[in-house]
């Protein structure tokens, strides 16, 4: 699939850009390519003020498309809006969206009128086009220009089904973000979570999914049984979650393609906290037996579970290191909740949190450099530390924030916040600077976010 898209892309970029060849070669080869802009978000000042103009995407000719009832011209505007919102809502740059900008024509896409954009103080320019093919599929091209240098920085193109048009926009936003920040992409990804409705003592909790920007929202379960703590499989084909169906707390693996689900263990013990290994082959779960909770590993396709912990306390959760060799988990074996690391086979268990208070729900960053967790000292706050337990740093400061999940590039943490009194839950996200905090728009109350990887 990816390969085919890539091949088509090469073809289309060779054939389509009418004016690309006429563009004069850049005066100096590869200027400022990897200097200055590739900084980490902990040093955000360098590029967070970057002015990026994102005008409406052009179309070669107006055509009907299932992706937009008004045709490809209107779709081009929507594409630019999605890219604009991706960049704006994540406080990465200072984008200006298509509604405040002139609309470049199709021939301008590969030969921007840099003078116009310089006059608008744009430092970078994102232009693109959309075309509807005879088979209905959409071809979306995306170009990033440095306005001051008058030069193309990068380009990308994707062929998508009409229903997946937003993915092309996210791919473009990812391309722009990666090129300008030096970080890995993350917009083209999805989030599983628990949708909450109803009063505090009769709250309905349903499994739901959405794109990283909240679009394409869908409820998976109907709310008859309480659902908790979903986790997407790394390939997005399945979701493991806890359901109280039939009066037991047990883990189901829901298959998105077929709409069917199956239990990962037939035990009627309280079974919870499902987690996928990075390769999708193993599922960790926690099971309570006679007041003692331990962590088990079971092949995702079924089979004999293996017990990884055997302390008399509560051992719960677990999050694999990106290489799959270690697991960070939570245990109260010392008397209260603390964070431990062990090898993936359960050996060499050792505590890493020693900074007072209680520490819970550890999640290993996809980059491997940090562990996000819930720190409890009266209030519950989201914090990060290194995998050796150093460098404690708070990202939030509210009454009750818990259960962090990482963006696919390890630069943003989502979590859920519970309001004092009402118990209303909502999903929030914050970047590693701790400064860019925002609530995610969800149709109803929301908890237990689980962010999946970037789509291929």
């Amino acid at each position: 699939m990816t390969f085919r898209l890539a091949a088509m892309l090469t073809f289309l970029l060779a054939a389509a850009p009418l004016a690309a060849q006429q563009q004069p070669p850049p005066p100096s080869p590869v200027p400022a390519e990897d200097q200055g802009l590739s900084v980490t978000v902990t040093d955000e000042n360098a590029w967070q003020d970057l002015q990026v103009a994102i005008p409406a995407f052009a179309t070669d000719r107006e055509q009907a498309t299932p992706a937009n009832s008004q045709g490809t011209t209107a779709l081009g505007l929507e594409l630019a809006r999605v890219i604009y919102n991706d960049l704006k809502n994540n406080a990465l740059f200072k984008p200006t969206g298509p509604d405040a900008l002139p609309k470049p024509g199709y021939s301008e896409i590969t030969a921007p009128n840099f003078g116009t954009w310089r006059g608008r103080s744009a430092e970078d320019l994102v232009q693109g086009y959309v075309r509807a093919g005879a088979d209905g599929r959409l071809t979306v091209g995306c170009y990033l220009y440095d306005v001051a240098l008058g030069q193309e920085l990068t380009r990308g193109g994707w062929v998508v089904q009409p229903a997946e048009w937003r993915r092309a926009a996210h791919k473009c936003a990812d391309l722009v973000y990666s090129r300008l920040s030096g970080e890995s992409p993350f917009f083209d990804s999805k989030i599983a979570y628990i949708a909450e409705t109803g009063p505090k003592d009769h709250r309905v909790k349903r499994l739901a999914i959405m794109d990283s920007d909240g679009a394409n929202h869908r409820f998976i379960t109907n709310g008859q049984a309480t659902a908790l703590t979903p986790r997407y499989s790394p390939d997005y084909s399945k979701i493991a979650y806890v359901s109280f169906l039939n009066g037991y707390s047990r883990i189901y693996v829901y298959d998105i393609g077929s709409g069917t689900q199956k239990l990962i263990t037939q035990s009627t013990n309280t079974t919870f906290a499902p987690r996928w290994s990075p390769d999708g082959r193993t599922i960790l779960y926690s099971m309570a037996t006679g007041g003692n909770t331990d962590i088990y590993a079971v092949p995702a396709t079924g089979g004999q579970p293996r017990r990884l912990t055997d302390s008399p306390g509560i051992d719960v959760g677990g999050s694999f290191s990106p290489d799959g060799r270690k697991i960070v988990f939570e245990s109260d074996r010392s008397g209260n909740q603390q964070i431990y690391v062990m090898n993936a086979d359960g050996s060499n268990q050792r505590r890493i949190s020693f900074f007072g208070g209680r520490a819970a729900t550890p999640e290993w960053s996809p980059r491997g450099d940090l562990i996000a967790f819930t720190h409890i000292v009266g209030d519950l706050r989201i914090a990060v530390m290194t995998p050796s337990g150093g460098g404690l740093r708070y990202l939030t400061n509210d009454w009750q924030d818990e259960a962090p999940t990482w963006s696919p590039n390890g630069r943003i943490v989502q979590f859920f916040r519970t309001a004092k009194g009402s118990g209303q839950a909502s999903i929030w996200q914050v970047d590693l600077t701790g400064k860019n905090l925002r609530r995610l728009p969800t149709p109803v109350g929301a908890s237990d976010p689980a962010w999946g990887p970037v789509l291929p």
């Binding site: 908790l228 009066g247 309280t270 007041g291 509560i314 819930t374 409890i376």
Partner: protein, 170 residues
């Protein structure tokens, strides 16, 4: 809101007399659910049939629930007295089965609370078994912090929510 106010009054009244432990803040009588069966049911005057959850609840008069301190799951003397009454009932009706539900207050993480609730339910179950109730007749389930009965975000509400509830299965 009204119910909360009543609870607070009850709690402060209890606090004067009760031992140091939690004020189980005697829950106001459960808003007698609309369980009055439609026409065909037994005449209202007879009350719930023995061996049913309704009958158990009315005989227990609040002692179908035991309460715990923050993060704790030990059975204290108040709990033991309640569990003795529960055991008596369960032994009196040897055909009924029961499940013990473990619950937590909202001030903890979701998954840990599922484990802690199971610990509490299990502690209650073990005590009932030690009093002669066959283990095969008892099951446990943890709802963690997902099913609070007291809705406030304060010590009194949390004390009422840290509980194990014995429910007779029909």
């Amino acid at each position: 809101m009204n119910r909360l106010a009543i609870t607070l009054v009850a709690a402060s009244a209890l606090a004067l007399t009760a031992c140091s432990k939690k004020p189980p803040a005697q829950l106001p009588p459960a808003p007698q659910e609309n369980t009055v069966p439609p026409e065909s049911g037994p005449p209202p005057s007879t009350g719930p049939a023995p061996g049913t959850e309704e009958h158990f609840k009315s005989v227990m008069n609040g002692r179908d629930v035991i309460y715990f301190d923050t993060d704790k799951y030990d059975i204290d003397s108040d709990d033991a007295a309640a569990l003795r009454q529960q055991a008596q009932y369960l032994l009196q009706y040897p055909n009924i089965r029961a499940t013990v539900e473990g619950h937590c207050d909202e001030r903890g993480t979701r998954e840990y609370n599922l484990a802690l609730g199971e610990r509490r339910a299990n502690a209650a179950k073990n005590y009932l078994v030690s009093l002669g109730v066959p283990a095969a007749r008892l099951t446990t389930i943890s709802y963690g912090k997902e099913r609070p009965v007291a809705l406030g975000s304060n010590e009194q509400a949390w004390a009422q929510n840290r509980r194990a509830v014995t429910v007779v299965l029909q």
